[in-house]
């Protein structure tokens, strides 16, 4: 008969090495005398000498191995702990052979099919969610663009009438001063200062709108940074004098020209110096420093203000967020200046950072890299 010739040592060795089922030779007590390659690979260890109970995952705590081993007609579903940590289920048969027991465990084909379907369904769901995510992202991007467009249009359309109000109020204050009483002059002053602030706000809105829409182009030219600093200080000079603040400037050897957008860097410096003046106590000073080396140019401005609490530092560059540090002259801010300044510096490949000590003051730094910016 064929069956008598099947299990010679060589064949047994082949089956032990390659059969995709769990195969154990057990003692009557369930100790593993021999295990096939699949079983060792699945559990991640050699198994010989262990009790079969050691590799069984018994969720109920009531599994009676001895009882099932003694009943060859049963085909119990046993969960085996695998090397991955997840249990895998096998249908086992036990067959007594002389003073040993052969145990065979086959995979639950239904379980595999069920798992495969579940994975397939989850994968489908994941792909559907990815589609929705891409769709929502595109919608958000469109809304953002519309918002920027609206912002830009609104600011642009407001600029002209505001400009007219400023011009005519200034004209009236100059030409009709003799005809106006104190109260009326006060009204005109209020109109002028409010519109001047509105104009700054509109200009900042336009800048932010351009930045957000990706229209923030730099017009690079070779300039000397000290020239830009001088122009900026001219703009801030009057503001400083009104508050009795001295602008102390320390400009190092910065004679080499660098490529930059002169008007935007001037805007950044003017904004930072103006902020410093607004936060500094009258009768004190603001320190401005410029240092250049082979790699970069570093600008800093230090005020003698109240300082910024550490937990508020993250608000500095966010639009419309204001810290608790009050301006010493009651000046108003648009809440966009630092955001715009940072965008200008970062567009030049630079970085901006702030040091502040409560009760002592705040220093704002920015550094522009020299390399890659010079022609």
């Amino acid at each position: 008969m064929v069956e008598d010739r099947i299990i010679d040592r060589e064949t047994f060795g082949y089956l032990k090495e390659h059969a995709p089922v769990l195969f154990f030779v057990l003692s009557e007590e369930g100790r593993i005398v021999d295990a096939n390659a699949y079983a060792c690979s699945l559990t991640g260890r050699s198994l010989v000498g262990e009790n079969l109970r050691n590799i069984i995952v018994d969720f109920s705590g009531r599994f009676d191995l001895k009882a099932v081993m003694g009943e060859p007609s049963l085909e119990p579903l046993i969960h085996i702990g695998t090397a991955s940590g997840l249990p895998q289920s096998f249908y086992f048969t036990f067959k007594p052979v002389s003073d040993h027991i052969l145990a065979l465990g086959r995979l639950d084909a239904e379980e595999i099919e069920k798992t495969r379907k579940e994975v397939s369904a989850l994968n489908q769901e994941l792909n559907n969610l990815m589609r929705e995510l891409h769709k929502k992202n595109a919608q958000l991007k469109r809304l953002d663009e519309e918002k920027n467009q609206f912002l830009g249009m609104a600011a642009h359309d407001l600029r002209k009438p505001i400009g007219l109000i400023i011009t005519y109020s200034e004209f009236l204050m100059e030409e009709a001063a003799d005809l106006l009483d104190g109260e009326q002059k006060g009204f005109l002053n209020t109109i002028n200062s409010s519109c001047t602030f509105m104009k700054r706000l509109v200009d900042d809105f336009l800048d932010v709108s351009a930045i957000e829409a990706g229209r923030f182009d730099l017009e690079l030219q070779l300039v000397n940074i000290t020239t830009i600093l001088e122009e900026s200080l001219k703009l801030n000079h009057l503001q400083a004098i009104k508050k009795g603040i001295v602008l102390q400037v320390q400009a190092g050897e910065c004679t080499q020209r660098m490529a930059m957008d002169a008007s935007k860097i001037e805007q950044a410096i003017t904004n930072l110096v103006s902020n410093a003046i607004e936060h500094t106590q009258p009768g004190t000073k603001v320190n401005i420093a410029l240092a250049c080396d082979q790699q970069s140019m570093t600008f800093s401005v230090r005020d003698r203000g109240p300082g910024i609490p550490p937990e508020e530092m993250k608000k500095l560059f966010k639009p419309f967020e204001k810290t608790s540090a009050k301006k010493t002259g009651g000046e108003k801010s648009t809440g966009l200046g630092m955001l715009i300044t940072r965008k200008i510096i970062e567009a030049h490949g630079g970085e901006i950072w702030v040091d502040s000590t409560l009760g002592s003051g705040t220093t704002v730094y920015f550094r522009l890299p020299r390399k890659g910016w010079e022609q």
């Binding site: 495969r116 397939s120 994968n123 489908q124 769901e125 792909n127 559907n128 990815m130 589609r131 891409h134 769709k135 992202n137 595109a138 919608q139 991007k141 469109r142």
Partner: protein, 211 residues
Amino acid sequence: MIEESVYEKYLSALLAGRRSECHDIVQKLLANGIDLKELYGKLFQRSMYQVGELWENNRITVANEHLATSITESLLNLAYPSIFATERIGKKAVISCSANEFHQVGGKMVADILELNGWDGHFLGANTPPEDMVQYIQEVKPDLVGLSLSIFSNIGHLERCIDVVKTDFPNMDLLIGGQAFRWGGTDTIKRHSRAEYVPSLDELERSIKGA
């Protein structure tokens, strides 16, 4: 233009379950500016139909077919940044597979082609009960509804779906298609008013441009 050698390489990788190789091929085609409709029709749809035939002829297993489908679905994600960036034209569609229909790639591709043409393509997924579909249609108020059928034995479910939708929305335009109809069976669709069989993605585009 997708060269035949590229297609053969892709199909071979798809059938072997070599996901990253398929990914690289599609990524390269996109980087070279492939027309998305061509990508969908000449690569994804063509290969999925071939996979379907191989399965029907027992040349590959159902597990093989599912893996190929799963890879194809994941590759659609690569096209989404371009597809959803197109300008909207203010039209909406609801696309779904009928109840018991678990093959959703075809329906999804239809929703994507609609998006590519500026429509807002709401895709409900596989195995959608008709009552859920009707509720969604009531919320979204689409200009048309698309139904996809991949396995012809699910035709009864499709018919029920059409009946349920037409009961609540008798004037709704229905576009119906899918691999199930490759060898016939479109009479079912013709029995219903304002229901049109769409045999291909090209026909779909022609149909919606007239809508």
